[in-house]
Amino acid sequence: MSVNAISEYKAEPKDRVENFHGMQLLYIYWPHHLMFCSPFAVMVAPDMTFGDFLEQVLKPAVASHPDSARADFLKAEWKLNDEPFTPDVSATMKDSGIDHKSMLTVTTPGLDGISGSGS
Amino acid sequence: MSQLVFIAFQDNDNARYLVEAIQEDNPEAEVQHQPAMIRIQAEKRLVINRETMEEKLGRDWDVQEMLIDVISIGGNVDEDDDHFILQWN
């Protein structure tokens, strides 16, 4: 369907990748750790390696969680936009198929949040 | 399923007469006192009669005067010079 309007209705997406000055948006969701209220939204360079992303982006973002010290993100279960995903630390974001506004979901079996509450 | 209509008034001097009049004309209505407000609910129908209000107040009363003290309502409204009715069909 489309908008019912008094004249022709045209609109541009506000968040096209061109608007991010060479960077791209990425969302990361760590299930069963709802102490972080929603998935994170971060900006990454398309040529950043997955290994750098883990060290420089993901780990600092989750550092305040008591489970973070025990989380082995490389051995975790990954999904990219709801499809199974195998991380390769040396591949870039682009080569890993992680495009603008993609979402990564990383599940760490055995870690179920504060006192196992999913928080 | 029960289908309740309701009306809520500010808990002030005017409202006390309104509540008295409503209780007299709608004996089955339930009156709930909440912080700063009075809420009255009844099954399907609730009526405020001008005559009853005038008796309570001892003066002429215009049905629209209740607009000053009412906070909220639930139900279809039917108003004329003599009464204010809330109802579900």
């Binding site: 489309s2 209220c37 | 010079d81």
Partner: protein, 515 residues
């Protein structure tokens, strides 16, 4: 000889106002005078069927409104003269007012603009008069709310730039975009959105608990403006219900259009009210009723009666009503968690509930609070006491439609977020729920242009790249004064001084540091 004028009855007076002062145009086409009446597909065959049950005429309107204002301002004066702010339950309460002033009062103004505009669009005089009166009411609400809160602005932080913040601050894009969505729709959708779905179905959940809460927390100024505004609301709600019945009775083709609008605006309103839920459960030191209880009375019970009444027109209760009913046990906790962790970017303070409040939450939410939220809160409380107050330093993902961070969980699995994603014309879009995702799919062009605060910061459109600069320069929130934790804040210190207690940084109630 003068004939004594017979006093007109209500029906006659209203007839004169709405029918006999209107006229049929002769040298202009009606279509040219009211060009926007039919592009939404709503078919009106006979405007004379329009009924306004209140039959309020202009003279009566001015008379009663003047009386309301006189009563209201007498109380404002008394409140200010008696330093009424010193008699509230606790200064934490004022944070609810900060949220109200930045989040709700600007919506009153938006409503004024909205009704002034659509009041021009209808060829039926009854609808025009009702919209005109409501436009004036809404302007009054916006003004009286600002007057009432100006007293608090003299004594507490965070109330100094409400309309500026409304246009910029991340969470205020939630109420702002809600109203902008309605105001940029056609006149009939606007009335379905605001008069019916918001005012009739949901507004009780905003004003009634808020004002009872103000009464319970000693804030007579707010009680009075709230109830004074609500006294107009009875009329607005009636307009909302009459409008729906009128449209549905005019033509059967209107039914599916109205149903889609009801589905959309129920969901949008429900999401918006998450903010009210957290206010009730967390921001009122003296609690009136829980959000879940309010939802049961004002939506499940009253809304249930309403939708039963509308059944005869072929209207069913809103889609995803079951999800909303289930969420009554979760949303307030989820919203408070969010504001707690992003309090570096709010114009109000947040805090963890005290022991007795945690107990109250467990009692009011026996199925959910202990199981899903208590551990999180106890952990944060411990961290705070150890000098490591938790803030989330990474920005959140936002829903493309409601613009709330995607914080909500699945109805059948509260341990998982109800995140949804779709692709539209090569772009990815993310949503908090099926409800918001459906709204997008119906009108994608409208929502692809959403001004999402997180993305705008990343694009460099908010005067800075780091949160501190954005918050102070772009939002006008004073760092360390308006934002962050309540305990130890300037508001907290000031309150202890007002109450004659020694300022201290730890929790009141832990008596060790009292001399």
């Amino acid at each position: 000889m003068a004939v004594k004028n017979k006093k007109l009855n209500l029906k006659d007076k209203y007839q004169y106002l709405t029918r006999d002062m209107a006229w049929e145009p002769t040298y202009q086409k009606k279509k040219d005078i009211f060009p926007d009446e039919d592009f939404e597909g709503i078919k009106i065959t006979d405007w004379s069927q329009w009924e306004d049950p209140f039959r309020l005429t202009m003279d009566a309107y001015w008379k009663y409104q003047a009386e309301k204002e006189k009563k209201l301002y007498a109380i404002f004066d008394a409140f200010a003269q008696n330093n009424g702010h010193q008699n509230i339950s606790d200064a934490r309460y004022v944070n609810a007012l900060k949220l109200f002033l930045t989040g709700v009062s600007p919506l009153e103004y938006a409503a004024f603009q909205g009704y002034a505009r659509v009041g021009r669009q209808f060829s039926g005089a009854g609808a025009r008069v009702a919209c005109q009166m409501q436009a004036i009411d809404e302007l009054r609400h916006s003004q009286t709310q600002q007057h009432a809160m100006s007293h608090y602005n003299k004594h507490f932080n965070g109330l100094h730039d409400a309309s500026h913040m409304h246009d910029r601050v991340w969470f205020l894009s939630v109420p702002k975009s809600f109203f902008d969505d309605a105001r940029s729709a056609g006149p009939f959708e606007f009335l379905t959105a605001i008069s019916f779905s918001f005012e009739y179905v949901l507004t009780n959940l905003l004003f009634v608990p808020f004002m009872s809460g103000a009464a319970y927390n000693g804030d007579m100024a707010t009680v009075t403006f709230g109830f004074s505004a609500q006294s107009d609301e009875a009329r607005h709600m009636t307009l909302g219900l009459e409008v729906i019945k009128f449209i549905l009775e005019q033509h059967e083709d209107n039914v599916p259009i109205v149903q889609r609008w009801i589905d959309k605006w129920f969901w949008r309103g429900f999401r918006l009210l998450s903010l009210v839920g957290m206010m009730m459960d967390y921001m009122l030191p003296n609690k009136v009723m829980s959000w879940a209880e309010a939802w049961e009375v004002y939506y499940e019970q009253n809304g249930g009666a309403l939708f039963k009444d509308l059944e005869r027109y072929g209207i069913r209760p809103p889609k995803y009503q079951d999800v909303a009913n289930d969420a009554k046990n979760h949303v307030s906790h989820q919203a408070w968690s969010t504001f707690y962790q992003y309090s570096q970017a709010t114009n109000f303070h947040t805090w963890m509930p005290e022991e007795d409040e945690m107990k109250w939450l467990s009692e009011k939410y026996p199925e959910t609070f202990d199981k899903y939220y208590r551990d999180r809160f106890e952990h944060w409380d411990k961290e705070q006491k150890a000098g490591r107050r938790f803030y989330n330093n990474t920005l959140p993902q936002l829903c493309q439609v409601c613009q709330i961070p995607t914080i909500f969980t699945e109805k059948d699995d509260p341990s998982m977020l109800s995140h949804r994603q779709i692709q539209h014309e090569g772009e990815r879009y993310h949503f908090c729920s099926d409800g918001c995702c459906d709204i997008f799919k119906n009108e994608p062009e409208k929502y692809i242009q959403a001004w999402l605060p997180v993305h705008q910061i990343y694009q460099g459109n908010c005067e800075g790249a780091d949160v501190e600069t954005v918050v102070s320069k772009y939002y006008h929130i004073k760092l360390g004064e308006d934002n962050l934790e309540y305990l130890g804040s300037p508001d907290h210190q000031r309150w202890l001084e007002i109450k004659g207690l020694k300022p201290r940084a730890s929790k009141p109630g832990s008596e060790q540091d009292a001399a």
